[in-house]
Amino acid sequence: MRLVVEPRPEWRRFPAVDMAGMQQLEDTLPHIRSLGIRIMSLDGPVAVSRLPYADRLVGDPDTGVLHGGAITTQIDNLCAVAMHSAIGHYVPCVTIDLRVEYLKPATPGHDVIAKAECRRVTRQVAFISAAAYHDENDPIALASCTYMLLPERESSMYETGGKQ
């Protein structure tokens, strides 16, 4: 069942989330830009992104399989995107825990799609689950991620991301 979050008063002072603002925020993150990660869709608590295959992201030169870390980065980033989208505002946050299970190697030469879904948001903590795949029915990796919300913190990054 899809999560519906009622925005708390302390979240409403942060700009509202939309697709254009989210992609613009992503473009300000140097490592996300250098991996070439793009948000493909944003729908309530669910977000999807694409990591283009690149030789420099290979973890095993004998096989050409991507390093798990590139997928970890895609998932960590997308979990934050899904959380912001669920909340509807760019609330400052930090990752406190990330678990990734690598079910099978990514296929060399193929882009990796990730889909994250925010499962629950409390006043201070958000829980997100995610999968990475070429074919959604045959996942490469499954993940769960926990974020701590910091609504008391000012953050110009989120101002920029939301306003323009």
């Binding site: 996300i32 973890g59 095993d60 690598y102």
Partner: protein
């Protein structure tokens, strides 16, 4: 250089930088490897392209995970003298402090080394080793024993 060649040479010289360089994503992150009496210490320079939060600024949480995984892989290749990259099964990262965009270090310890599976614990720190910025535990599938 292939992994097998790099490992063969590292066994003779005790220098694992070539092994690391032969793994593209580790080279992409700019990783370096040093040693102490407990094995390899992997080092990641602070650079703009690993930033995840430009306001704090802080290293991207995913990069911290990738860095910890890389330190585990280098440690396993060193300890196991493997000529293949061990395959990661799972990784759990605990983020303990905000990772500033400065030089960061990581060292792995093997908590159990079975025939097929290795359990690894990894810690990352910056200026003060007593204050780790992140810790992880991971399972790896080891390459079959070579003759």
């Amino acid at each position: 250089m292939s992994i097998a060649d790099a490992v063969a040479r590292a066994r003779e010289t005790g220098e694992y930088q070539d092994v690391l360089e032969s793994i593209p994503y580790m080279a992409f992150l700019g990783l370096r490897v040093d040693h102490d009496e407990n094995g390899p210490i992997v080092r990641m320079p602070g650079s703009d392209h690993i930033i995840g939060n430009p306001v704090l600024p802080a290293i991207h949480g995913g990069v911290v995970g990738a860095f910890l995984e890389s330190a585990a892989i280098i440690h396993l290749i060193w300890a196991h003298e493997s000529r293949q990259v061990p395959k990661i099964i799972n990784l759990t990262v605990e983020y303990l402090r905000s990772a500033r965009v400065v030089e960061t270090f990581a060292q792995a310890t093997i908590t159990k080394h079975g025939r097929r599976i290795a359990n690894v614990r990894i810690e990352a720190w910056q200026a003060d080793r007593a204050k780790p910025v992140a810790a992880a535990h991971a399972h790896f599938l080891l390459p079959a024993e070579e003759d």
